[in-house]
């Protein structure tokens, strides 16, 4: 018994140890010299040498260290190791090289230095990974695979919250529509906007059961009640193209916190914060609030106002030195005692009167009282002649009011 048994054990010990060592050596090779990134970087180094014409270029090639590289982006909470393979991303001479060594196309890197932005903030994918499949994120259990080139513009809206942006037509169309439809009058976006509807800061992340998100947003924008039965959102009468554009924008709202210094417009124009609590609002609420619903209810009237001189009447005098004299008629909700106003230009409340009470009614579901509170007497022209003074014709009114003493301008009497 002794000999066979001991021999087996000795054999197991010997061959087991050798095999384990061999496998560990293989694993070490596989992790370093055998790794894909190692081949890519060696290839890049060779190309640097092959191209080096001057001494300086040869020194650059010699100094190139074949090792894993990463972009550490604490502000964005990311570590991007993409440049471990895409090592020529900023090297203009690699323009015609094969992937992964090719340089970044376009001039976008000029405004978006990789040390500040990294890669995955725009491209998505798994920045921490260092193998192609893992890094590109087309693997199970990675929620954000790399965006296809034609989908890349989705990322612009992460930081460019205002628009327009040269060379990104789909984004421009979407953002213009977004402002036109005044979505933020009801929906909170990045801490600003109304609360009549759900917050949309992370609209792209919200799950909608079995329906793919893109499809859900499109249906929802075309006809809110088709996907949310109890939806109070008005039908926006969007064309298919418009709904597609807004869907694209919704899909870009990932809710990912972006540091202020990365935003295109670090201090966006404050939207009436009184809308945060409409029940506590007093006086004027701003046209955006009205448009939020009425754009969908009777778009002709709203578009008519938009195209009329009233909506842009402030624009014409904003450079006037004596503009304080004009504010009573060129703004909405002007308070002659304080000189403050609620909105530039003549908005909804310029004629219909302060809307806070009416908003309270409609949010409480009392549509009749809402109408009553805001209705204009169709026979009354008093509201018009408040500004449209029949005794001061349009052509001469500017000179007339410039001569008035400062800030006394109660136009029209």
């Amino acid at each position: 018994m002794k000999n066979a048994y001991d021999k087996t054990m000795t054999g197991l010990l010997l061959f087991g140890s050798l095999l384990t060592l061999a496998l560990l050596a293989y694993a070490a090779y596989d992790e370093n010299l055998g790794a894909d990134w190692y081949h890519h970087q060696s290839d890049y180094r060779c190309q640097l040498f092959a191209r080096a014409a001057t001494d300086r270029e040869r020194q650059t090639a010699e100094r190139f260290d074949v090792r894993q590289k990463q972009l550490y982006l604490p502000a964005l909470g990311r570590i991007d190791r993409c440049i471990t393979c895409h090592v020529g991303v900023e090297d203009p001479s690699m323009k015609n090289a094969q992937q992964p060594l090719t340089s970044h196309p376009g001039d976008i890197m000029a405004n978006h230095p990789k040390e500040q932005f990294g890669c995955t903030i725009c491209h998505l994918g798994q920045g921490r990974a260092n193998t192609e499949t893992d890094a590109h994120g087309h693997v199970p259990h990675w929620p954000d695979p790399m965006l296809a080139t034609e989908e890349l513009d989705r990322s612009c809206a992460k930081c460019h919250t205002q628009g327009p942006l040269p060379g990104v037509p789909r984004y421009n169309e979407a953002i213009a529509l977004f402002h036109e439809k005044a979505c933020v009058s009801c929906h909170l976006l990045r801490g600003q906007g109304g609360d009549a509807g759900p917050e949309i800061t992370n609209a792209a992340e919200v799950d909608h059961g079995d329906m793919p998100k893109k499809e859900w947003h499109f249906k929802h924008l075309k006809d809110p009640k088709s996907v949310v039965e109890a939806s109070e959102m008005p039908d926006l009468n969007l064309s298919d193209e418009e709904a597609t554009a807004l869907t694209f924008l919704m899909m870009s709202l990932t809710g990912e916190p972006i540091p202020t210094e990365y935003l295109s417009n670090p201090k966006p124009k404050p939207i009436e914060m009184r809308m945060m609590d409409p029940m506590a609002a007093k006086g004027h609420v701003g046209s955006q609030v009205c448009i939020g619903c009425h754009q969908g209810l009777h778009p002709d009237a709203v578009d008519g106002w938009r195209k009329s001189p009233m909506s842009s009447t402030y624009e014409r005098l904003k450079n006037e030195p004596t503009k304080d004299n004009c504010l009573a008629c060129h703004t909405t909700g002007f308070n002659p005692e304080t000189g403050h106003y609620s909105e530039e230009g003549v908005g909804c409340e310029g004629c219909h009167g302060p809307g806070a009470v009416a908003v309270k009614f409609v949010l409480a579901g009392q549509v009749d009282k809402h109408k009553e509170a805001i209705r204009l007497n169709p026979d009354s022209t008093l509201v018009c002649v408040r500004c449209h003074n029949p005794h001061v014709p349009v052509g001469v009114h500017a000179n007339h009011y410039r001569k008035q003493p400062p800030r006394s301008g109660q136009a029209g009497g």
Partner: protein, 516 residues
């Protein structure tokens, strides 16, 4: 003088290796039996071993090396665990990313994590197989009762270590598995709910709170699990493991049948035993003192035979974990998201049998039945005190037949109960019951569900064996086998045949697809 001191120095220099070795070893090369004994006895690390080991112990069929392999896995886990600790950051914000970094860029990190994972699963398997081996060879019998109890503690600690480690990656798998596990801990609420006293008396909630440090799984739970995983449980396990080994020696080595030794001589002594000469120190060992001047028959010096086996089996399990680790990565799902439940959310595999029972009744399946099993197992040596046939697999032919019959009975029983439950559901969903008594009170389900039916049927089988064979050992074999078979079947069933909403599916391919 100077010349001679210089020569002396050169000679000292030449002898450094030998003198260094002698000062460390305190004895010569282990070429004689005496030196071999000293090698063990005088070495801090080896002296937990006996200096001589019985040949029966070294036989492959005695232990199959399961205990050694379990210990080897624990060593591998300790080493890889310490290496992982260097890079792992136990905080909700960083844990997941640090695992990603370990996987992708930490030198050998992926290998270390994979080995750790596979060794952990292996240790759970090995510790169970080791327990089954000890049971079936009657190794728990007098004087080894308490070492069996220590073994049970080690078993529970191993599960605890594995379970606490499960949360640390902070991915969806971890988060939801621990959600299931911790709600099992909170299952006494089912009973207090049934009596409507949870408001004032909520032991389930308290246990869960103690485990998680909060009402949800977050930062507090992670740091608790981490502390348990890297410090409390490993230290407890190491200490008890030490006692476990020490008791092997104090209890007279591994259990072996009487036939392993030559027949007792006329004066009641085995050959090689001294008639009356005893060592004071050796007296605490429950064996007759060996004669001091000659080797005992049927024993071999531990050096090198036992150590060679230990080294060879350690290398074997290392080799297996390395092979698995090269080809199969430890899973890492999405970052934990408390708002997106996994469906199905499954506990770690060794708790899946329990989860199946929990799906019938959380309290019965999660607390009472495992409680009965653990306490019942620990009490086996005190309930079955038949001393015959120690060290013989299944205690002989009758035991083998009973184990076979019990395997068949266990398979029929657990498959039958599972099939019945899948096909017909249970009390609460039966129309005729509802027509008869209306809504079934939850406490009735708690007391009478497929889990309790199984336990009762297994107990009945065991009591039947006790009557027929008139042997507690045979009754114990029947019960143990039933539970072992049931554990394997339930684990398989819950792992592979339970899908979303804990519904039954023949294969994962039939699971309904949920798009996100």
């Amino acid at each position: 003088m100077a010349y001679s001191a210089g020569r002396q120095f050169l000679s000292n220099l030449k002898n450094v290796p030998r003198n260094l070795r002698d000062s460390v070893m305190r004895h010569g090369r282990p070429t004689s039996d005496r030196a071999r004994t000293q090698t063990v006895v005088q070495n801090f690390f080896l002296h937990i071993h006996p200096s001589r080991v019985h040949n029966h112990t070294l036989k492959w069929t005695t232990t199959m090396g399961l205990g050694i392999m379990t210990t080897a896995l624990f060593l591998i886990l300790t080493v890889t665990g310490i290496l992982l600790m260097v890079y792992y950051k136990p905080s909700v914000a960083t844990a997941f990313d640090s695992i990603k970094d370990i996987h992708f860029v930490v030198p050998t990190g992926r290998m270390m994590r994979n080995v750790h994972r596979w060794a952990a699963h292996g240790m759970v398997v090995m510790v169970m197989m080791h327990m089954a081996r000890a049971f079936y060879t009657s190794a728990y019998k007098r004087p080894r009762e308490f070492n069996w109890v220590l073994g049970m503690m080690l078993f529970v600690l191993t599960l605890g270590l594995s379970f606490t480690g499960y949360l640390l990656p902070w991915d969806q798998l971890a988060f939801w598995a621990v959600t299931i596990g911790s709600s099992i801990a909170g299952s006494p609420s089912e009973v207090t709910d049934a009596f409507g006293i949870t408001q004032s008396f909520d032991p389930g909630g308290r246990i869960r709170e103690l485990l998680l440090g909060a009402h949800y799984i977050g930062e507090e739970a992670l740091i608790r699990f981490y502390t348990l995983h890297i410090m409390v449980l490993p230290i407890a396990l190491s200490v008890i493991l030490g006692v476990h080994f020490w008791r092997i020696r104090k209890d007279g080595g591994l259990a072996r049948p009487a036939s392993a030794d030559p027949p007792i001589t006329q004066d009641g002594l085995k050959p090689g035993e001294a008639p009356d000469k005893t060592f004071g120190l050796m007296a605490v060992v429950r064996e007759r003192t060996p004669a001091t001047d000659q080797a005992i028959e049927n024993t071999s010096p531990a050096w090198p035979r036992l150590f060679r086996v230990e080294a060879a089996l350690t290398v074997l399990v290392l080799l297996i974990t390395v092979v698995l680790s090269i080809w199969l990565d430890a899973p890492l799902k999405e970052l934990a998201n408390p708002e997106v439940p996994e469906n199905p959310a499954k506990a770690p595999w060794y708790f899946l049998g329990l989860q199946e029972l929990v799906s019938y009744s959380a309290f019965m399946g999660g607390m009472v039945i495992p409680g009965i099993v653990v306490v019942g197992l620990a009490l086996i040596p005190y309930l079955d005190r038949e001393d015959e046939d120690v060290g013989i697999w299944f205690s002989g032919r009758q035991g083998r037949r009973i184990a076979t019959a019990s395997t068949v009975y266990g398979i029929v029983l657990s498959v039958g109960i599972l099939a019945f439950t899948v096909k017909f559901k249970w009390l609460g969903e039966w129309d005729w019951v509802r027509n008869l008594i209306g809504e079934v009170p939850p406490i009735v389900i708690t007391l009478f569900n497929p889990g309790t039916v199984f336990v009762l049927a297994a107990a009945a089988w065991s009591i039947g064996l006790l009557r027929v064979t008139n042997s507690t050992r045979m009754a114990a074999i029947g019960l143990f086998t039933c539970f072992l078979v049931c554990f394997v079947i339930m684990t398989y069933f819950a792992t592979f045949l339970r899908g979303p909403n804990w519904d039954f599916y023949w294969s994962q391919a039939d699971w309904p697809v949920i798009e996100h």
